[in-house]
Structures are given as structure tokens and as C-alpha cells.
């Protein structure tokens, strides 16, 4: 498969996960108050929204999910972040595509990674190198 074909497929995928919008959006010159309020509404504040019935299921926990829960809590235990910044900002205020699209604990670990970089506990390059190293280490198995 060509690099160009890969790129086009990736762009189609990105387009497909953009939130559906029902008004033109291209950096409007003006935004009326009700629309401003709607833009400012945090994606995680979902109470009362319409949705169709689904099958309510249990989920067996993945090992990585159990680890993420503990990592995020222990970062709190040791004072690296607090509950408010985790819940209302880091884990939740991600925009609709990320908030609704990725796994529950996927949001948690992305938030933790971003926080560690934002607070200068680790450098972004260090994180990128570590990710590459972990991938390489596990590929060998």
C-alpha cells in the first residue's frame, strides 16, 4: 500500500470521528449568546441528554486498565495531581471526539501522560522515547 493511500485512509478516519455539527463552523465572526453557551458546555456534562436504550453490560477488566486506575490514584496519593484537576479538566475536558471515543481508562492514562509533561515532571521527548522503547521491548517477545 502506498504512503499516499495510507495518508488518505488516515484522513478519512480522522474525518469520521469528528463530532457531527448542524450549523456552519468556520471561525464565525460572531457567536450569539445561546450558541456561545452551547460551545462552552463541557462534553462530560451529559445528564438529561437523549440517547436510545442499549444493552447494559459488565466488562472484565484488562490488566492495563487495572494498572491505570492505580497509577492515577497513586499520582494523587503522592501529591502530583489532585482530584479536581483530574476529574474536571484532565480526564473530562478533552473535546467530544476524544471524550466519547476512547476507552474509559484510555482517557485516564492520556490525561496522566499529558499532566506529567505539562507539569515538567517528564519531557515530551522522554515520553516519546519511552513509548518507542516499550513498543520495541514488547515486540521482541
Amino acid at each position: 500500500m502506498s504512503a499516499r493511500r495510507d495518508l488518505l485512509e488516515q484522513q478519512a478516519l480522522i474525518g469520521s470521528i469528528q463530532p457531527a455539527v448542524h450549523v456552519p463552523q468556520n471561525w464565525n465572526y460572531e457567536v450569539e449568546a445561546p450558541l456561545f453557551k452551547a460551545y462552552a458546555h463541557p462534553p462530560h456534562d451529559v445528564g438529561g441528554q437523549f440517547d436510545a436504550p442499549i444493552l447494559y453490560e459488565e466488562k472484565e477488566e484488562e490488566q492495563w486498565e487495572a494498572n491505570v486506575y492505580v497509577t492515577c490514584e497513586v499520582l494523587g496519593w503522592r501529591g502530583v495531581w489532585n482530584s479536581e484537576e483530574r476529574r474536571r479538566r484532565a480526564d473530562n475536558d478533552l473535546g467530544y471526539a476524544l471524550y466519547l471515543g476512547i476507552p474509559y481508562y484510555g482517557r485516564w492514562i492520556m490525561a496522566a501522560a499529558r499532566m506529567l509533561v505539562d507539569k515538567n515532571h517528564i519531557a515530551l521527548t522522554e515520553l516519546i522515547e519511552k513509548i518507542a522503547e516499550v513498543k520495541a521491548r514488547n515486540a521482541k517477545k
Binding site: 447494559y56 477488566e61 484488562e62 487495572a66 492505580v70 499520582l75 502530583v80 506529567l116
Partner: protein, 238 residues
């Protein structure tokens, strides 16, 4: 990462390259990377992680069941539960200060137990995230975390409860308690008929997790919450 979707979801029709079998997903990689970097930088120790994991594995809904069963048989204890639930929990061996000395970093030491009556039924949700009384009920079930449950329960509680098989008669008020990050809630259902001679242990068996969330009612013979289970690819190792 492979593009995995739940069956029947439209995402399954998205264009994608030939499926590749990967041993480890992007989230698994990120989890390892963040944990190792945090330990290497001394933000926490491997021992901290191990201790917290141990505590997490020790919690579960059995504690809540014991609390309710004891309250059903001991009116003075019930009064203490309704007055100061965190304090009353110590009497059944649950210390909300565990495992850090100040509770879990995301569960404040603040719990209110909601008592059902013949004219009032409670059910809990967290519309903003998934707040849940972990020290008493363990980790929340997946359906409790879904946007679907959170969206609909506060607006159409009777319909959602009916989907769980729980029909609340119109003369009974349904009260939905929306958790916030500072306070946890748990439902104390009514003791069902036909359990007069039962021991606390027998009673605890019918107080399942769903009864304490409020999406089911305890009754003799009902000792488990039955839901479809989505299996893990790499489940937690014992």
C-alpha cells in the same frame, strides 16, 4: 492499535488497512510508559503501586451487603449509618481512610446512605463522570460508567430501571441521587418479606451490588446480578 469496535457499531464499517495482529495496544504501551517514567522520576514507588493494587483487589460489594444486612437486624446501627455512614462503616471493618490515610485520592471520606421506604425508591448515578462508593461496593460496573446510563437515568429513571427489570409502581416516588466528587451515595433497600427468621449472613447474600445502586430490589432467592459480560483480551492476572 487495531481498530476494535463493539459488534454492531457503525465504526466497524470504517475504512482500514488489512488487519494486523498486535501483541500490545497503544493504551497498554502508554500505561507501561507512564508508570515506569513516574517510578524512574521518583513520583511514586513500585511499592506504592503494589500497595494500592492490593487494596483495590480487597474491596468489593460484600462490604456494602454486610452493612445493609446489619442495619436491617440492628435498628441502633441503622440509625448510626443514616447519621454518619463513614463512621458506622468502621463497625463492619471498613475504614474509609484506607489505603492512604486520607482515603483514595478520588473518593473523599464522605458517604450518605439513602434509605428506601414503601413510598420512596432511590437510585444513584454520577452524571459528570462515574463517582461510586468504592470502599463499600468495589469498582463500578461498566454500564454505570456509560454516557448512556448517565444521560438517561436523571431524566427517564423509571424507563431505565425497567430496562434493568425493575418496575417501580407509580405511587412510589423515584429519587435519583447524582453523585458529585465530594460525596458518595449508596442505597439501603427495604428488607423483603419472607426473611424474618434469617441471619445477617443470609440477608447479606440477597443484598447484591445492583440493590445498593438501586437498579434492583433484594428478594429471597436472588443472590446475583446478571448482566452480559464483555471479556477482556488481557485480563487482570491473579
Amino acid at each position: 492499535m487495531s481498530h476494535s469496535h463493539k459488534p454492531g457499531e457503525s465504526g466497524a464499517d470504517l475504512p482500514h488497512a488489512a488487519p494486523t495482529v498486535e501483541e500490545i495496544t497503544d493504551f497498554e504501551v502508554l500505561e507501561i510508559a507512564v508508570r515506569e517514567l513516574a517510578i524512574e522520576h521518583g513520583l511514586f514507588t513500585a511499592e506504592d503501586h503494589r500497595r494500592f493494587t492490593e487494596w483495590t483487589e480487597s474491596i468489593g460489594p460484600a462490604a456494602g451487603s454486610r452493612l445493609v444486612a446489619k442495619a436491617w437486624t440492628d435498628p441502633a446501627f441503622k440509625a448510626r449509618v443514616l447519621d454518619d455512614a463513614v463512621k458506622a462503616c468502621k463497625e463492619i471493618g471498613i475504614d474509609w481512610a484506607e489505603p492512604t490515610g486520607f482515603g483514595t485520592p478520588s473518593d473523599y471520606m464522605n458517604l450518605r446512605v439513602l434509605e428506601d421506604t414503601p413510598t420512596l425508591h432511590h437510585v444513584i448515578v454520577c452524571t459528570l463522570c462515574s463517582c461510586y462508593p468504592r470502599p463499600l461496593l468495589g469498582m463500578s460496573p461498566e454500564w454505570y460508567r456509560t454516557t448512556n446510563y448517565r444521560r438517561r437515568l436523571v431524566r427517564w429513571p423509571r424507563q431505565v430501571l425497567a430496562e434493568f427489570g425493575l418496575i417501580i409502581p407509580p405511587e412510589v416516588e423515584v429519587r435519583v441521587e447524582d453523585s458529585n466528587q465530594k460525596c458518595r451515595f449508596m442505597v439501603m433497600p427495604m428488607r423483603p418479606e419472607g426473611t424474618d427468621s434469617w441471619t445477617e449472613e443470609q440477608l447479606a447474600e440477597i443484598v447484591t451490588r445492583d440493590c445498593m445502586i438501586g437498579v434492583a430490589l433484594p428478594r429471597p432467592g436472588r443472590t446475583a446480578d446478571v448482566h452480559p459480560v464483555h471479556k477482556a483480551r488481557h485480563p487482570v492476572q491473579e
